[in-house]
């Protein structure tokens, strides 16, 4: 408590959400969406570190063709756990539950989400799921691959499948609750004057994400339940030895898990729209097209799961239909990329760190999206499916897209979240290091994949070594690039320059209140009279209410 008081300088002592209350209890029982966002931020960072350690172990093992660093059993657990932790405990919650939680109410001029207690509950559920999963990892780990394919997962694996399944089952409910909260909040709590087409595109993207969360997540929950039934009670659902159908599992699993890919990328697209518009001070080109393409992705995303089953024994006609639909779902993403690029036309483009991430995002997402067409093309997918080509493709989407979007957004809103500026020079430097490291890691994997290197291989034929050495070198650079922001962001929380309410001179509602914002976000209810991304000289932009000056607060 004492330490926090010196944190405030006497001249700028005012009440904000960070210093409104002190003590562990004030955090663990908070109903403030901003504090819950920080709880999520801390937790997803923790899980990202664990997933990252597994990634480094994978890359070290694959440095040489022989399986010499880890045993086969351990390697299989390591890549499985890398996938499970990164997907279910980092990528899915990362942007919506941290940045989304913080910004959805602020961007629509609300005091909080519609259901603050449910919001806190969702964090506890997420944490419970995470703790159960960590228990499973410590108790002995899981080796099924993150995809849990039956009958390996139900009959053959001797690892902690059930415990991990329970962890994922539980954490799914936190997604559902977050999605529900966002939908109700966006429908009912927009500030006066904030019509649907004045909403920032970040909100549209989160609305689309929330739809997938509440429609898709129950299906994966059901799938995991069925898997548990078969594993525990030997009820024949998936294993043909007891009368089940293994391909049924894949249908059920991908019916959720393909839309889940869009749960991971859509929020990053929302961040991207904010960054591109705000750092070029331009209204987004084709606002409605970008907004509706998010909804189109959410809807069509539910119709393409079969492209994961092209070689799984699905019928030829199903293959053709899913191939067609998978090509079609690429169009809304293409529309977004073209509109972001066109937004820059005649803009005033800054080279601040968030913009560097945003530009990197466009390049990498383009490659990630276009290589998705190779997989929609059944004839090519037959060859590259289950090879490193797939691994490279989805890392271009998940890391090049989601992670870059997340980091760009984190830097962009850091002054608002923490009330401090991050060091700009280090920010730009690490963004560049991450971009270079990422491409060096994953570009060679496209080549290794087309040459035929299968994924999930502990040892591999020596002719693939050169690509793996490049990958491991790239991953080391990427690792360093990711540690730098971790250090300077923590550093800046105490030593960074104090942030102004609106350090980037932007019109969004979140910039029209103090940094960090007060608990109730705005001192008066904002009335919105402007369009989204309507830029004006900073002195013309009104601040909502006045800052309450208080010298002392206990």
């Amino acid at each position: 408590m004492k330490a926090f008081e010196t944190f405030e300088t006497p001249t700028a002592a005012r009440v904000n959400y960070l210093n409104a209350q002190y003590g562990l209890k004030s955090w663990l029982l908070t109903k403030d969406h901003k504090r819950i966002a920080l709880l999520y931020l801390g937790s997803v960072t923790f899980f990202f570190l664990i997933g990252g350690i597994y990634a480094m172990m994978i890359r070290l093992e694959l440095l040489t063709p022989q399986g010499d660093f880890l045993s086969s059993a351990t390697y299989n657990k390591v890549f499985t756990q890398h996938g499970i932790i990164m997907i279910f405990f980092f990528l899915i919650p990362a942007i919506p539950a941290s940045l989304g939680n913080f910004l959805v109410p602020m961007m629509i001029g609300a005091k909080d989400l519609a259901f603050p207690r449910i919001n806190l509950l969702s964090w506890y559920i997420y944490l419970l799921g995470g703790v159960i999963t960590i228990y499973a990892l410590l108790a002995g780990g899981i080796d099924t691959g993150w995809t849990f394919y039956a009958p390996y997962s139900t009959t053959f694996s001797n690892s902690y499948v059930l415990a991990t399944g329970v962890g994922i089952f539980v954490s799914g409910f936190s997604s559902i609750l977050t999605g529900l909260n966002f939908i109700v909040t966006i429908h009912t709590m927009r500030a006066p004057g904030l019509t649907w087409f004045r909403l920032p595109l970040f909100i549209w993207a989160h609305y689309a994400t929330a739809l997938i969360m509440i429609l898709g997540t129950p299906v994966v929950a059901i799938t995991i339940l069925l898997l548990a039934f078969e594993r525990l009670a030997h009820v024949g659902i998936f294993d043909p030895a007891v009368g089940g159908d293994p391909v049924l599992f894949q249908h059920l699993f991908w019916f959720y898990s393909h839309p889940a890919v869009y749960i991971m990328i859509l929020p990053a697209m929302g961040v991207e729209s904010e960054l591109i518009a705000n750092f070029s001070r331009k209204n987004i080109f084709g606002y409605k097209f970008v907004a509706f393409s998010s909804l189109a992705i959410a809807v069509f995303g539910f119709l393409v799961w079969g492209h994961h089953l092209f070689v799984a024994g699905q019928s030829v006609y199903a293959g053709l239909i899913f191939s067609f639909l998978s090509f079609a779902v690429a169009i809304p993403s293409a529309i977004k990329v073209f509109n972001w690029t066109a937004t820059l036309y005649k803009g005033s483009i800054s080279y601040d760190t968030p913009m560097l991430y945003a530009l990197g995002f466009i390049g990498l997402f383009t490659i990630g999206g276009m290589t998705g067409l190779f997989l929609a093309a059944v004839a090519v997918d037959v060859h590259v499916s289950d090879t490193y080509f797939i691994v490279a493709h989805f890392h271009y989407i998940m890391v090049g897209g989601t992670l870059l979007g997340y980091l760009g957004g984190l830097h962009y809103w850091w002054p608002k979240i923490s009330g401090r500026m991050y060091p700009e020079g280090w920010g730009r430097f690490s963004a560049l290091v991450i971009f270079v490291g990422f491409n060096l890691t994953f570009l060679p994997q496209f080549v290794a994949g087309y040459l035929g290197m299968p994924r999930r291989y502990h040892a591999y034929p020596p002719e693939f070594q050169v690509f793996n050495v490049l990958s491991t070198a790239g991953a080391s650079i990427l690792g360093v690039g990711l540690v730098i922001p971790f250090i300077y962001l923590l550093w800046s929380m105490r030593y960074g320059k104090r942030a102004e309410p609106n350090p980037w001179h932007l019109p969004g509602l979140e910039w029209r209140t103090a940094s960090p914002p007060p608990t109730e976000n705005f001192f008066a209810t904002p009335v919105v009279t402007w369009e989204a991304y309507e830029f004006a000289p900073p002195e013309e932009m009104q601040v909502i209410g006045r800052f309450k000056e208080e010298t002392e607060h206990a």
């Binding site: 159908d245 053709l320 390049g363 093309a377 059944v378 090519v380 037959v382 299968p454």
Partner: protein
Amino acid sequence: MQTSWIPFVPESASTVSGKVDALFFYLSGVTVFFTLLISGVLTFFVIKYRRRTPHEIPRPVAGSHKLETIWSVIPFIIAMSMFAWSAQIYFQNSRSPKNANEIYVVGKQWMWKIQHSTGQREINELHVPVGRKIKLIMTSEDTIHDFFIPAFRIKADVLPGRYTTQWFEATKPGTYHLFCAEYCGMNHSGMIGSVIVMQPTEFDNWLSGNSSQQSPAVAGQQLFQSLGCVSCHGANGEGGRGPALAGLFGSRVFLTNNQTLTADEGYIRESIENPSAKVVSGFSPIMPTFQGQVTPEQLIQIISFIKSLQSSNTQSATATPAVPAPKAQPQVPASATPAPNRR
């Protein structure tokens, strides 16, 4: 199409590999073009429209329906061209040619067991001749595996409890990788082997040099007797209390529930393991299950025997009302003829 001289492309050794590579080059070309176009425009804008003074506010630019239409329709047309091209290759190759030589593949943790129709067995190796169509009939003893030959650009999951097939025609002698591409547990990355493509004469020598083993059809006939199938289905599959089996494979079957199906490997297997699931019209469900009594490999042998019944006994196929005459159903050549037909 010879592609092996192009870097970053695996050896091309089957009749489809060139077609897949050609499509791959088209997709790569489009990808490189759009990546360069977008990053080029991006770089140009970022330099040309860089912020010159801290307080400048550019004029808003209105959207353009014309541009939106252009960049929705053109990518859609390109995507459809990719779809059409890929669908054509996929559809053409989806059906195995009728005159293909059949080879049985059984996957298990962590090895490939392969048996030629003439009886030769191999483990983790597959010997095939150049220029002959080969059809793989595959199943798994435990979990899901995947039979992947990069040089042929083919791959298909190998499932427990059912049969999947894929076919190829090798074009170039050599030794190529065989990988398991579906994660199957601890030694997944050790479930690898070689595909050895030989000249036809060499291959025939290799076959006859290993001919001490029984063909699967002969082994199946012995099982057919030892398991007591003969008492209901007849020694030559002519039928009795059970439906006739001669000529069954590939024919239309009428069921007691008024449905019809084409008898394939999966149907025969189901009828052995779960006989009451699909009972032939005119018969009662009296057959006991053989689930757990026959291994996947023995199942393949019995199926292979039943398939062999049709070439010798085709005339009897029309005799019984349970299996009506297939209308101009092309007959699959018997897979178990002692010597493979030379081209």
